[in-house]
Symmetry: C2
Subunit: 569 residues, 2 copies
């Protein structure tokens, strides 16, 4: 490819970008923003995207078969699974103007994912035990009505995704395939150069399942997730579900007398701890929730937050929301902000985080407007519960409860997820299979996603230096960046371009007449192809062509044959 035919152009650094990765993708001419959350993949970008998708396709072909479902389907598909109203990133499609509505005024959903569509299709074709298990996938454009798109390709309203769905006769078979899919994903990340930085991570099931799911998380400073890794066994947890034990902090050796402290309008841990002259970790935070089983009270150490997913599991409830102000007042006898764990009514269930257990002389709300209790102690001021729980949102420095070792906590970006959906979607369309014994039995389902355009964004965040991109060879848009300097070298440039291209090497030739050597070198660094080849009077005098890898500083001079050999590997 000649640079002058490339359509996109490198851009100057004339504004602030979210991250370096976004900056280089835009300034390098890989993507162009069309609106918040939607980008054009310019010619360089589309080549990277295709390479990523081809790698994904090759690995998925080993475990499933490709198809392609429509992006728009009647709203009926999403209503049938009770997701039309509940999924808040859904887009709807309607006629755009009067003429269009007159032609056809039906309403459609623009799919962000295809569980709701593949299941009825699978039901049409695969109903006997002989047909199971099977797995199908597609690589397709998806749509999500994101509130705040950000970080370039990482969170967008339109994106590319590989989604695979598997169907099984039993939970065991689903679980076995789950591991097969996991291995296929690992192959993908290995081939993209992300393997050693990508972690198989337990996460919540989101909209999809009450079971936990798994994510693949790539370590990244600018990542949006916090991962807790157990160093001794490499187990990883997303912050949203990471089990955690607080580090025990030094406590007073003797109990002080409990006091009721008037702190008019003092609400919130920071303000309160300052006011009382104690550390936040010596306070407690008590929240009142409503659930389908009634009122629940949860309390964590003041420097933690309540993890509602954990609380739901511990309490065995499905619906959970913060109680209304009225309910809080009814339960605690005080306005919101003064709830505590001493003297609560007997008929509410109280869950206390294990971080509070070792505290001596701690604070809790007074259950009386404007009042707090200081120097509260277990056994004396309130009875120890039968059991303390893990109800807290994990934070850096926390311990893994099973081994009490400190987690390694790091920022990361999700590059894939797998969900054991069980029978949630197959039940919704009454999809069962006829077993060998003639009986109808439930079909178990799994769902496995990789955002391919998101992967492009993560690769950009991961592989760059302060000059520009450093593409892994497996996805680089071209392998060679060719620069011919000076009038005399143009003919040589053309010769190398044609020879390497003919040898099957993907070459981009910066054939701009008006650009200086400096501009060309800077753009080569910005675009970040694996090999830079320069032909000039100087290089020819030194015996041929100057070759430099984007990853290093070493410069070699090679003749044409050696050049072909090096770059066509």
């Amino acid at each position: 490819m000649r640079y002058t035919k490339l359509f996109g152009k490198t851009l100057k650094a004339d504004k602030e970008f979210d991250t370096k990765g976004v900056e280089y993708l835009i300034r390098g001419g890989f993507i162009d923003q069309v609106m918040a959350g939607a980008y054009t993949f310019l010619p360089l970008g589309v080549r990277v995207l295709h390479k990523i998708e081809q790698i994904v396709r090759e690995e998925m072909d080993k475990i499933g078969v490709e198809l392609l479902m429509p992006s728009i389907v009647p709203t009926e598909y999403w209503k049938r699974t009770n997701r039309f109203d509940s999924v808040d990133v859904l887009f709807k499609v309607v006629g755009a103007n009067e003429g269009s509505l007159k032609k056809n005024d039906a309403e459609y959903v623009l799919n962000p994912t295809h569980e709701d569509v593949i299941t009825p299709t699978a039901k049409k074709f695969n109903f006997s035990y002989k047909d199971l298990p099977f797995a199908v996938y597609q690589i397709q454009t998806k749509f999500r009505n994101e509130e705040r798109p950000k970080t370039g390709l990482l969170r967008t309203r339109e994106f590319r995704m590989k989604d695979l769905y598997s169907f099984h006769k039993s939970v065991e078979d689903l679980k076995a395939f789950y591991e097969v899919a996991r291995e296929a994903y690992i192959q993908v990340y290995n081939r993209l150069g992300l393997g050693d930085q990508t972690y198989y991570t337990a996460a919540s099931g989101g909209d999809f399942t009450e079971e936990y799911s798994h994510e693949f998380q790539t370590r990244l400073e600018t990542g949006e997730d916090l991962i807790f890794r157990v160093k001794s066994n490499n187990q990883c947890f997303n912050k949203e579900i990471a089990p955690s034990k607080a580090v025990a902090l030094e406590q007073d050796s003797e109990m002080k007398p409990m006091e009721e402290v008037l702190g008019k309008g003092i609400i919130g841990v920071d303000e309160l701890s300052k006011f009382m002259g104690i550390k936040p970790s010596q306070t407690t935070k008590t929240l009142i929730f409503e659930s389908e089983k009634g009122i629940l009270v949860a309390s964590v150490r003041g420097d933690y937050d309540v993890n509602e997913l954990k609380l739901k599991k511990v309490a065995g409830v499905k619906e959970l929301k913060l109680a209304s102000d009225e309910t809080v007042e009814k339960v605690t006898g005080a306005k919101v902000g003064y709830a505590g764990i001493v003297n609560l009514p007997n008929d509410v269930e109280v869950f206390i985080d294990d971080s509070i257990e070792p505290l001596i002389n701690f604070e809790t709300g007074g259950n009386r407007t404007d009042y707090h209790l200081a120097n509260v102690n277990w056994g004396r001021d309130l009875q120890k519960p039968k059991k303390f729980h893990d109800l807290k949102v994990a934070k850096s420095g926390d311990l893994y409860p099973e081994t009490s070792e400190e987690y390694e906590a790091f920022k990361a970006s999700e590059v894939g997820n797998i969900f054991p959906l069980m029978t949630k979607f197959t039940d919704a369309v009454d999809y069962q299979f006829v077993d060998a014994d003639g009986k109808s039995k439930p079909v178990y389902m799994g769902s496995y996603g990789i955002g391919t355009s998101r992967l492009l964004g993560v690769i950009a965040e991961k592989f760059h230096d302060d000059k520009g991109m450093i593409w892994p060879e497996s996805v680089a848009p071209y392998k060679v960046h060719l620069i011919a300097l000076g009038e005399n070298a143009q003919e040589e440039g053309l010769k190398i371009y044609e020879t390497l291209t003919k040898a099957g090497v993907e070459v981009m030739w910066d054939d701009r007449g008006g650009a200086s050597a400096g501009e060309k070198f800077n753009d080569a660094d910005l675009i970040g192809l694996p090999y830079r080849i320069v032909v000039s009077q100087k290089s020819l005098e030194k015996g041929g062509y100057e070759v430099k890898k984007r990853t290093g500083e070493e410069i070699k001079y090679l003749n044409l044959n050696s050049l072909i050999e090096l770059t066509s590997r």
Copy 2:
């Protein structure tokens, strides 16, 4: 691929289909209807689609560079070009439910084509004469709010399309590229096996341009277009614009006296000609139009219709619509249905089709409610106009005016189109280029589309017999359909499957245990892969493997080496 892993299944002929092509695509397990106008490409279908798209990509790469624009863009893009309200197949995208609208209530267009999006993008990057000309393309899912989707993949609400856009410094350069694109298209059709049945056809510019555009039309009995071909020079015209001369019909040798005939409520050519006892071709049809230049009257021979595109050109007007009943009454003095060309007011412009010129003793409306004039004659009853025009919708049997030869008229289906857009879209976003002389000048633009999923549909309509599909080798989902008959042959089947697959031959092995030989043979014909290979006790006795091409009846017995040689060509 093993048939049992294919997900899709062949289906029995248990209902009526629009066409044989649609029937075989659905019954063969290539596509599955999700809603009116949207299909899932099942694994067999997605392979054909990918092959078609790869052929298109390879040919487009020779004349342009690939990118990928978003499917959704803010409505602003379409308002800027004044197309948001006028294009009646536009879909709009909005938040689907309360939660979604709360997150983001912006409205977007779901693009049916991308002129409105590529032009501002091109403007960002390419503003100097050095950047021009250039051409970019994408292969992408598009959306059109079709009123009545039909014929499977031929008219859908969601479809796949290759769209290429070119930008030029001058009309001449645009026209030169137009020919380059035409040649690239011809290569595509040749490689798909459609070359000798596909015609470069002049058509109207539709929404895009007032110039004529060109379509590629594949001859097809079930096609939706009627094409008029000049046999002597292979020039083709879509019915919507075909110039035409009526065949002269025998006329009376003498004029009869003109009469005013009372035909109460007799309206329309068929009823009228029966009532008057004359042929429809001896009547005339006169219509009153309103235009930006005032009232226009057009008259054609009774067996023709008025072609509004032709009338617009002849009259030199841009807006044209049938006059309201009130206007008709004002102009003719009669209710609608009795307009004629005798005694019209002097201030209306009258255009008369050349099919009326040779008529003797013809009928025309009486311009008086319930009255018709019989035996009207030029010169005696009304003055001959200075010029007769071609205003008629062409029909089978018509002559090409330039040479007076009879057209070959045939049904066809559009498989591609190219539009000289000139500066319509570049002007809309004020996209000009700076020429070598430092002056800003208009950028000329062309647009070039191929519907790749539609092509799949056309190929299915074109290549089948009464048993099923007959895929051209270039796009067949697999090359070989392998059947192993009898328990003993299964091992041999596996051997051939693995050997051929290893040799790079795409094999589909019908490995179903429960299906009979008859079912397997029928499905092989229905699916229509180029080679059917059968291994059985009988074939092994005859020296190896039975090979039959889908296109013929001849059966050969080959050993494994010959089989590899034959199928890996």
